[in-house]
Structure formats: C-alpha cells, structure tokens
C-alpha cells in the first residue's frame, strides 16, 4: 500500500460513478470518495429505476399483475412470474397440476442458466475480456428461442398463471430443450478454459472483497452471494417448494480455491457451477415430466380469501420474497417484494472500503445486481 509522510498532505477526491456507466449493470449511481486510486467510501445511490411496481399491484388484479413481475428482474423473468404465481396460490390454497409444476421448474432453471450467462458475460466484459460476453449472448439466444417457442416472447414471458402456466409445451419443445442442454454443457468447460482460470482474471478477482460467512448472513445476503461465502443455504433444498424435492442436484458453495473463501472469485465460480446443476435439473425434469392439464380452474374474477402470506423462492440473484396482503377483493391490498439485489447492496459500502476503483467494478459484477430488482 502507500506510505505517506506528513510533509506531503493529500486530498480526497469525490468521483461520481454515475447512473450512466458501462459497468454498473444498470442505472446505479455510486459516489466514490477516493484517495488517489484507493476508495475510502463508496456510497450507492439507488432509485433511478423506480417504477412503483408495488403500488401498481394495488390497482390491478392478481392475473393482471403477472406481466409486471416480468419487469421485476427481466433477466430472470420466469422466476419472478413463478414466484408471484406460487405466492397467490399459497394464499388461496390452489392446487396446481403436476405437469404445470414441472414446466415451471424447467423454465425457471433454464432462465437461471440464461441469467447466470449474462452475469458471467457482463462480468468478464467489465474486466476487459470482451469475447466471453458474446459467447454468453449466443447461448442465451438459444434459450430465448426455446422460450419463444413455448410462450411467444423472448424477454418478458408472462408464462406462469395463477393455477398453472399459460400454455402447454408445443410438440418438439422437450426435444429441442434436450438438444440445447447437450450443446451447452461442454461450453461451460470452454468458458473455464478461456477465461475463468486465466491468471489475469483470477488475479483481478481473488482476495477482492472477501465477505466472511457471518457477515454474509448478518447482512442478509442470499443466493450465490451467500453461497460464495461458504454457507450452503439454498431455498430449493432447505425450504423446498413446487416439485424441487423430486430432483437430485448439488448446492454449489464457494471453496476459496483461488484466494480466500468469500472473495469475488468464489461468487463467480458458484454461478458457473450453478449453471451445471441447472442443466442437471432440467434434464431430469424433461425426462420425468408427466402428462396432464397445465392449468387449474381459477375463477375469472379471482378473489382470494382475506389474509396475508409470504412466499420466497430462489431466483438467480438471491431470494425473491413476496409478501401479499389480501382484503378479499379482486386487487391485492398490499404487496411487498423483497429482492436479493436490494439486500446485497447493503453490504456494498462495507466491502468496498480500501479497494481500488477497478475493484469496485469487480465487486459490482460479482454481486450480480440488477437495477430493476433494486429499485422496483
């Protein structure tokens, strides 16, 4: 580090890593106070993408709210759709047909793959290697093709419905999914060879922003950020929902293989390994999916019973929890969405103290935040 004599006073500089920045993963503003290259304080300023999604929920009906959950985390739209569907079904105690649950798991895991691809691609692009980003996008386009075949859209799917899914898989969908999985699994090894274990990349990520396990739990981190610190907590295993208990997969945990446990590299590798596990899950689901209806009968003007419910599911960026209060009418009374990215930002200031400006970019990338989730 730097040693300064008292004869040479230095002044701190306030730099604005503004809402428009190539590597803040959205419109995130970070106010950096630096001493040369070393950051003394990094204050995140969120809210540039606030669209009052929770307030909108009070004006629309339960079925009409589904497209809005697409926009909650647009890179993992299926997960958010299904989270909303599961919440309302938990409140109204609706029985979802098994084929619908299998389809939901397939699309959720495929979307987890595509979301982690973007996390991987944009992280390496932030680090300066522009090539893996394009490979990731190429893979993601194939997932989007699958979703386009299934529900008609490539980004904002609006696939889940209260009581099931909107439509059955068209003929050929399951075969194409298998083809994609066979094509994609060796690509993960290719990415590891290309960039993950590259000495420069490892040096940029190892030992940067180490989050010990107690801190991770205390600050409420969830998802790959928590598992990167060594805590093996995954909602799909510890509080299983839907048909996840029927699948066999590992919980990927950071191991400190190239630095300290809980550094950026661990969080990055957790995401790479999770892609492999998701491939496993989808393979099992495609092999065992039962026949049957894909939608339960739900009245057109759906009025759930009065009450409140909290349901949390494992989204690619952490735990997405929806707290829903219903007063018996067609519109929700209040809904609150707890997203993984928002809570992850709480540790941002602590973890960036003493890092360099280039490391701040590495930290933002390793947290894999996305602004629509933070600002809602």
């Amino acid at each position: 580090m730097t040693t300064r004599t008292d004869a040479l006073p230095t002044q701190e500089m306030t730099i604005n890593m503004g809402p428009q920045h190539p590597s803040t993963h959205g419109v995130l503003r970070v106010i950096l106070t630096t001493d040369g290259e070393v950051v003394t304080r990094a204050l995140p300023d969120v809210g540039y993408l606030h669209r009052a999604l929770e307030k909108i929920g009070e004006r629309v009906t339960y079925a009409q709210y589904m497209p809005f959950t697409d926009r909650l985390d647009y890179l993992a739209a299926m997960n958010c759709n299904c989270a909303w569907a599961w919440t309302v079904e938990k409140l109204a105690k609706i029985e979802v047909p098994e084929r619908a649950e299998y389809l939901r798991v397939i699309v959720c895991e495929l979307n987890r793959i595509s979301s982690h691809l973007i996390a991987f691609g944009s992280y390496t692009a932030d680090m300066g290697a522009f090539t893996p980003f394009l490979y990731a996008i190429r893979e993601r386009e194939r997932v989007n093709d699958l979703f386009e075949m299934l529900c008609g859209n490539r980004l904002t799917y609006n696939y889940a419905r209260v009581g099931g899914v909107s439509g059955d898989a068209p003929p050929g969908f399951l075969e194409k999914t298998k083809e994609f999985l066979d094509y994609f699994e060796p690509k993960i090894d290719e990415y590891n060879n290309l960039i993950s274990y590259n000495k420069i990349f490892v040096h940029r990520l190892a030992n940067v922003a180490v989050i010990p396990a107690e801190d991770a739990v205390a600050y409420g981190l969830t998802g790959p950020n928590l598992r990167g610190s060594g805590v093996p907590f995954d909602l799909r295993k510890d509080e299983p929902y839907s048909v996840y208990p029927k699948f066999d997969f590992k919980v990927c945990v950071g191991t400190g293989e190239r630095g300290t446990l809980g550094d950026c590299f661990d969080r990055y590798m957790v995401r790479i390994n999770e892609m492999r596990e998701s491939v496993k899950i989808v393979r099992q689901a495609v092999a065992r999916i039962p026949d049957g209806p894909v939608r339960a009968k739900v009245p057109r003007l759906f009025k759930p019973p009065v009450g409140e419910v909290y349901f949390r599911s494992e989204c690619p960026r952490g735990e997405t929890g929806i707290y829903l209060i219903s007063d018996g009418s067609v519109n929700p009374f209040r809904l609150k969405i707890r997203t993984g990215s928002f809570v992850t930002m709480s540790i941002f200031e602590k973890v960036t103290r003493g890092l360099m400006i280039a490391d701040v970019v590495a930290v933002i990338g390793s947290f894999d935040i996305i602004l629509p989730e933070i600002d809602r």
């Binding site: 009409q64 497209p67 909107s166 068209p170 060879n193 960039i195 590259n198 000495k199």
Partner: protein, 212 residues
C-alpha cells in the same frame, strides 16, 4: 515470494493465456462459427404462437369488453351500441400498440377468439399517433347514427305490430276510449326509443392521442 513461486507465476500466466488464445483462434478461423443473422435480408423464422402485434377480427368480435377490462395498461378502447337485434355493435375499436406490452392476456381471455397475435413486429413510426391501430375504419358517429336509425325502425315496426295486434284482438271490457295501458302514438314511442341510445363504450383513461 520465493523463486519457485515467482517462476510458477510466470509459467501459469503463459499457459493459461495460451489455452485461452487457442480457443479464440479456433473461433477466429472457423467460418461456421458465425451466428449473425443479417437482418433485414435474412429474417428469423417466427414460431407459432409468437406474441406480435394484435389483430382483431371485427366480424367475430362481440364487443364483450373482456379485453378492455383485462389489459394491465389500458391500451384497448372500444365503443359499442346496442343494435336492433339486441347484440352490441362495434363503433370503434382501437389498440394503442405503443402502450401494449404484448403480455397476451387479452388474447387469452377473448371468448370468441377474434383477438389474436400476429407475427408482426416491425412498425417503426414517426409519431405516436401512428401507433394507434383503428380496426374500424368507418366513423363512429356514423355507425351510431345508423344503428340508431335501425333501432328506431325496429321499434317503429314493433310498435306498429303491437298496435295492429291490439286493434285486431277484440278485447273484453275495453271497448271504450283507449285506457292508459294502450300504446302511445307510434312516433312518440319511436322517438323515445331513439333518444335513449345506450352507448356503453368505455374510454380508456387517458384517451389515446388521435393526432397524426
């Protein structure tokens, strides 16, 4: 750090760089690895069920208002009047595809399957008004006037029929001057019917701009 670790660093850097460069070299020289679709000369084959622009088959549409009610962003607006055969007649049907979020809820809920998605996705416009699709080209006021006339005619016919029936039937005990129960003069009735044209159109809030 010791000499061994130092040399190890150098060797590892060279080896991992070489591994990465081998992969990029393969992509660089292999011409099959291009995935670019040269739009607009080459286009993606749109699968069945793609949620593109909306299209309403006016002849099948019953103006039930389900699509209007279910749209989360209020992009559909329609006006209808009750026609002579007691069915609703569409006077105007507009979809603001600039507002539409292509969620597909309206298509799902349409009971007669007249509203559907098309594979269209290209409609760059210069003004926002061009993005409002009018599915009924006739002027709404004209349609309303025409329907009003039809209703008036039907009412007149019905009144005339009823009047004839009343005269034909030799009613018992009512041979005196017409009682209050007998029908009023036909014109007055028709006029009364015409006056109460029910317009059950629903305007979206705020109304889409019709400029452009």
């Amino acid at each position: 750090m010791g000499l061994k670790a130092y040399l190890n660093d150098i060797v590892e850097a060279v080896v991992t760089t070489a591994k990465g460069m081998r992969i990029t070299a393969r992509y660089g020289v292999d011409p099959r690895e291009e995935v670019t679709l040269q739009y607009p000369e080459e286009r993606w084959e749109i699968p069945q069920g793609y949620r593109g622009f909306l299209h309403n088959d006016i002849k099948t549409c019953t103006a039930c208002n389900m699509c209007v009610k279910v749209c989360p962003v209020d992009c559909i607006s329609l006006e209808s009047v009750r026609g002579a055969d007691k069915k609703m007649v569409l006077c105007s049907y507009d979809i603001n595809i600039g507002r539409c979020m292509y969620c597909g809820l309206c298509v799902e809920v349409c009971p007669v399957n007249s509203l559907m998605h098309t594979p269209g996705y290209e409609m760059a416009s210069v003004t926002r008004g061009e993005l409002i699709l009018h599915f009924i080209t006739e002027d709404a006021a004209e349609i309303k006037a025409r329907v009003a006339r039809q209703v008036a005619e039907a009412a007149a016919k019905a009144a005339a029929l009823a009047a004839i029936k009343a005269v034909e039937v030799p009613s018992s005990g009512t041979a005196g001057p017409p009682a209050a129960g007998t029908p009023k003069p036909a014109e007055a009735q028709a006029a009364a019917k015409a006056a109460e044209v029910p317009s059950s159109g629903t305007e979206p809030t705020p109304a889409p701009e019709k400029k452009g």
